[in-house]
Symmetry: D2
Subunit: 327 residues, 4 copies
Amino acid sequence: MSKTVTKIGVLTSGGDSPGMNAAIRAAVRTALYYGLEVFGIYRGYNGMIEDEIVQMDSRSVANIIQRGGTILKTARSKEFYNEEGRKKAYANLVKRGIDGLVVIGGNGSFTGAYKLSQEFGLPCVALPGTIDKDLYGTDFTIGFDTAVNTAVQCIDKIRDTADAHDRLFIVEVMGRHAGYIALHSGIATGAENILIPEEETTIEEVIASLSEKEKRKKLVNLVVVAEGHSSGGANGVAEILKANLPNLDTRVTILGHIQRGGSPTCLDRLIASRMGYHAVESLLEGRHNVMVGILNNAMHYTPIEIAIREKQRLGDDWMKMVKILAS
Amino acid sequence: MSKTVTKIGVLTSGGDSPGMNAAIRAAVRTALYYGLEVFGIYRGYNGMIEDEIVQMDSRSVANIIQRGGTILKTARSKEFYNEEGRKKAYANLVKRGIDGLVVIGGNGSFTGAYKLSQEFGLPCVALPGTIDKDLYGTDFTIGFDTAVNTAVQCIDKIRDTADAHDRLFIVEVMGRHAGYIALHSGIATGAENILIPEEETTIEEVIASLSEKEKRKKLVNLVVVAEGHSSGGANGVAEILKANLPNLDTRVTILGHIQRGGSPTCLDRLIASRMGYHAVESLLEGRHNVMVGILNNAMHYTPIEIAIREKQRLGDDWMKMVKILAS
Amino acid sequence: MSKTVTKIGVLTSGGDSPGMNAAIRAAVRTALYYGLEVFGIYRGYNGMIEDEIVQMDSRSVANIIQRGGTILKTARSKEFYNEEGRKKAYANLVKRGIDGLVVIGGNGSFTGAYKLSQEFGLPCVALPGTIDKDLYGTDFTIGFDTAVNTAVQCIDKIRDTADAHDRLFIVEVMGRHAGYIALHSGIATGAENILIPEEETTIEEVIASLSEKEKRKKLVNLVVVAEGHSSGGANGVAEILKANLPNLDTRVTILGHIQRGGSPTCLDRLIASRMGYHAVESLLEGRHNVMVGILNNAMHYTPIEIAIREKQRLGDDWMKMVKILAS
Amino acid sequence: MSKTVTKIGVLTSGGDSPGMNAAIRAAVRTALYYGLEVFGIYRGYNGMIEDEIVQMDSRSVANIIQRGGTILKTARSKEFYNEEGRKKAYANLVKRGIDGLVVIGGNGSFTGAYKLSQEFGLPCVALPGTIDKDLYGTDFTIGFDTAVNTAVQCIDKIRDTADAHDRLFIVEVMGRHAGYIALHSGIATGAENILIPEEETTIEEVIASLSEKEKRKKLVNLVVVAEGHSSGGANGVAEILKANLPNLDTRVTILGHIQRGGSPTCLDRLIASRMGYHAVESLLEGRHNVMVGILNNAMHYTPIEIAIREKQRLGDDWMKMVKILAS
């Protein structure tokens, strides 16, 4: 039998992503509904160490479902990497009687939760909060849909200018290790080529395709590049393309941090709400040390250590479609 | 063995939905890639009867992926309901050698395709294009995600005013027979109550919950109502609430047709592109008279007659969550 | 010599409008900069009577410049109409030593400020906060630019559907006595006709122009109507048009309260900031009982009693342009 | 007496700006209304030389008022700098009988029009189409309002992340020689500092103000920098700040080309429509070789040679307000 949870802490950690507030709201209100006490831990594991912990009620999370960022703030904590830091952090939970934890973040944040559960037996539940979408065990991560829509809206604007000037635009989107934002935003904006860390397309193929388009006078072109692509992001790609296709009028735009913020989309608010709600139910039902995901329309619970280790992989029929549709 | 398709027609029919253009683009370009000829049929089955049929090339669908509405226009056709109309329509396909059809629309549009396939043996493929989401055999319908995001953005604005004035707002969203837009937009905006044609919540429960909130001085409230709710949409609900809760400052907003238009979201462009692409592959591979859907992340093909008859049903754990989160 | 102001109150009153928060922020921070104390008065004159008055510091207005609505809330107060109510209200200012007032709102709100200045000698400054734009003595009112952009974005979406279906859409925008929202949004969306309370165009002219368009098969049409138009808003206009042009496929959309909310545009934030800043400077410089406006790019101060009495009038060359451009 | 104009050409030149399509539409339809013939000249002066000139009717400009970019495309032309190029260009006008020209663009585009008017006596009218706003003789330039709203929306998103992480963000906006976009977007987003080519604030002042804020633990900060600022844009500023304030967590985002595109705001559509309309009236009334602007709410006509030479200057009371409001 698992321990009964009576007081829970909630924190956000790692890079912020839109929808984190909706998840916090759902976790807080569900916990209150079931008679638990809830504490907000500020600045991720940093605040757990520094004792920035504040009790929350229903009003604490009023009118935040539509806001980007996270009201609990977020940070990366070096001190939490060593055991001493974690002991100090755990002591701050113990002194308030906090006996359950909801962690919203990405891979690194999950590792923190895993350590707490292993070292102190603290029941933890993790929610996938990252714009990168590459977490294992879930079809959706909180923030991806908003980030990719922001990218699409920006690229739509860039295409107006590309079109007015007959230019080649190389747009860099976020994604150090995963190409989801690049792939989805590239397809949705009709990009001629998409370059992702998974290397589905080579730079040589891009040169060949643009060269063929130049011959038939299609001069307006768009290449979407994930920041983690091996040629060095958009600037690296631009250098190579300019060397190989000197007649094209080539420009670079790096979307950067605007992809992280903004009011979350309906989908991000919805999945964040569902996940926050089921996180608390999961703690209450004794389903501990799992990541709460949604897979094939149903809630899906992945042991945290597996969620940390595995990655969601891109399916493989995308690039053929990209090539055909952008012709 | 199925017939080989060499020339296809594409049409949109019924109410327009954002993403239809992305589906047209994908179907046209995929067909061209495989060496088919493609014809755009204007104004749905009306244009098939009136012979408004135009050959399309790759440029015909350039720069439309981001546009709402449908470049092929749409209509509802009475004449197509009787056999004579359909004969006239089919004759216009025959004279051009069109031997395959891609139909984008909802239930009524599928019925047209089914008739053509039954009466003339014409290979047809249907794509789910409706903002209502209630089609069977697919997790996504083209346009739903955009419509529900439009609703959410509007309700966010209304909440600013509700909040400034301590008012109860009753917002009507689209959905004659299905509550998906109301449910998703209501959850995403933190609505206190959601009234849908499926009648998961009664008006008495709404009165009770608002009355309880009035007692504890929570005066800012939001009720989202699907147009098809039995009490007569938002105006009907408002009348009942005003009679029962005369002290509340109650206002009605009917979102109406703004939910149909607008630039499609990333998700709608993506699923529309995938569906348009697989529609043509489906025709070529002899998978005829099916609706192309996406179910559990994979392409899913439902015989048209089943897609016409069955409905996607709401899951049943939603209303408990709504009640808990809006507390 | 005018009295020296040392403690000021700030309130918003009447219908909320986007940008009010930016004005509050500017007034509060400017006052603090000059060493004044600042008090927020909640729910307009209601809160002044009910003593809902809270001291504010720089942090009170952090991170609100981008928010719709008003953090001070707003209301219409009946009690303030009679002298007794105003005495009670003024007493609440006196007991805190509040000796200056910044009022953000429309005509009715100005009247309240005027009464306070006349009856008690309280130095007041009024800021034009209304989406209707029809205030005298200023080229801009706080909220108009946001409201009209919201209307334009909605009508753009409606046009997608109008276009897909060859329909006539009649869209109602806000404006009981003033046609500015209708006029600007109508021109910006290429409306065929615009009907405003100022009656620049008659319904007969609309019928004639749509009838002429019907003859040359231009079936996609858009008529923008201000809610205060004499034929009874969009529904009234639709009835008349359907009776006279029965072959047109006519639909009505009433934009309603979504025009009030939402994150303010750059322009609304900028003018609200300037006005809030100059409101305090005006109080300090002894320029009392004026409305702070911007006219011909310069700050302009209109005595409140004149601002109450006069209206901004529409220029008269607009309708010819509308007619020519929508051809 | 001035020549009677009977056939006009319309072109867009230089960097594209949102609203150019609205101006084209207005010029074309006004010209048709007055019985003129209208020709669209593609790719600015390039197309005039290359004879890319196409007659336009009312339908040519249907449904474009809401689109970014320019349907006539734009380019910078080297050949037009020398007389031979211009002779070739003018010959292409003469052979169609084009005896009047509407040029939409910035300074460089005006110079082209001026040359044509001087060398060949061609009646020209120029419209201020630039997102930079710094043209003389007009309060508004086509595209500025859209660009600055795009910048504001992006910076709002960035602030979500800045806030979640307690970071200093340095955001670069467009403006090589003019600080209007930086100034307006910076005020509207509550930026702590704004650095513009006009050098109203020094980098030393920025360091001092951030240092003071660091002391009182205000770690979330935003600096908006125009690309043309002498320290080398946002990257240059970041380097200096990091060297001087090593404890701040500093990030850079360069908004880039997304500021050029997108659907124009209501204001940009409105002023573009007015300017396009009055451009044609101006040609017909013999008011030639002027830039059509709007000054103090009235149409204002500046001789092109003056519009080329002079610049709109920033007013000088802005920076004090910035400092007070961002405290």
